[in-house]
């Protein structure tokens, strides 16, 4: 079994008391404690302004415990990528921002779409999953 851990630390001085929140999880297959996610896609792409693209071109198995990491490497604070799931706007990643979300690809329309705004954004992504439907050649 592959063991992949995902850890986060959030720090802030927004409150009167300095805040530091940490969490760590081992990325497991759906509903198990014995079998870790053992497949991944990892890449970097340049996304020109305008068109929406599916960041994951394959079709991961639906309703599992897949995890998706995306980072916008732009250094221009006005550049961002919009993250949309089946026509539902989720959020924006501005230059330097990252996200880590569960992605259950629950049906054929549940693609993760990204659109670049402001200019060409360099986007790093990693999908940890437990199976995908490959496109027949």
């Amino acid at each position: 079994m592959a063991t992949t851990t995902a850890a986060v630390t959030l720090t802030s001085d927004l409150l009167s008391d300095a805040m530091s929140v940490s969490a760590s999880t081992t990325c497991m297959k759906a509903g198990t404690t014995a079998d870790g996610l053992d497949q991944m896609e990892y890449g970097v792409v340049e996304i020109a302004t305008g068109t929406a693209y599916d960041i994951i071109c394959s079709t991961p198995t639906a309703s599992k415990a897949s995890k998706l990491y995306i980072k916008n490497h732009s250094t221009d604070e006005t550049y961002y990528i919009s993250v949309v799931l089946d026509a539902q706007a989720v959020g924006r990643l501005y230059g330097g921002d990252w996200m880590f979300i569960p992605a259950d690809f629950h049906d054929a329309n549940a693609d993760i779409e990204i659109t670049s705004t402001g200019g060409t954004n360099i986007v790093e992504y990693a999908l940890f999953h437990e199976g995908t439907i490959l496109t027949a050649s």
Binding site: A2, T3, T4, T5, A6, A7, V8, T9, L10, T11, S12, D13, L14, L15, M19, V21, A23, T25, C27, M28, A30, G31, T32, T33, D38, M40, A65, S66, K67, L68, Y69, K71, E77, T78, Y80, S82, V83, L85, D86, A87, Q88, A89, V90, G91, R92, L93, Y94, G96, D97, W98, M99, F100, I101, P102, A103, D104, H106, A110, A126, F128
Partner: protein, 134 residues
């Protein structure tokens, strides 16, 4: 100006032939500027009582639209099969199983753009925090 940072580390020694050790830190700033995010709900916990119906965690109408809000969620359950389904409006994003966490950009672009959670079992506890760009 307040400074809020978010650091992620993804690590594995046996998923690939080469060790995976990815770490990055983002300083959370407002939409299109370098000013630190100005608001937070603070860290909170909710226990979802019996009946485990869908629950609106944050209402899109309550936050400025098309901004750089960030949301942290964690499923504190230790029962492997228990998960929270996370939804925006009525669109399923995915499931966080026991111990899993998520860090999600949220643009609150419409009054219907609510963050909803749907626990798979009774009495599950969700930990959450929203950083807002007002």
């Amino acid at each position: 100006m307040a400074t809020t940072t978010a650091t992620i580390t993804l690590a594995s020694t046996d998923l690939l032939s080469d060790e995976l050790a990815l770490t990055t830190t983002a300083t959370l700033t407002g939409a299109g500027n370098s000013t630190g995010l100005t608001g937070t709900t603070g860290l909170g916990r909710k226990k979802l009582a019996s009946g485990h119906a869908q629950y609106t965690l944050f209402d899109g109408n309550d936050y400025t639209a098309n901004k750089a809000h960030k949301l942290y969620l964690k499923n504190t359950s230790t029962t492997a099969a228990e998960y929270f389904e996370i939804e925006v409006n009525s669109e399923q994003i995915g499931r966080i199983y026991a111990g899993d966490w998520a860090f999600i950009p949220w643009m609150a672009n419409a009054s219907t753009n609510d963050i909803k959670i749907d626990p798979s079992a009774d009495d599950m506890v969700l930990e959450y925090m929203l950083f807002t760009d007002d």
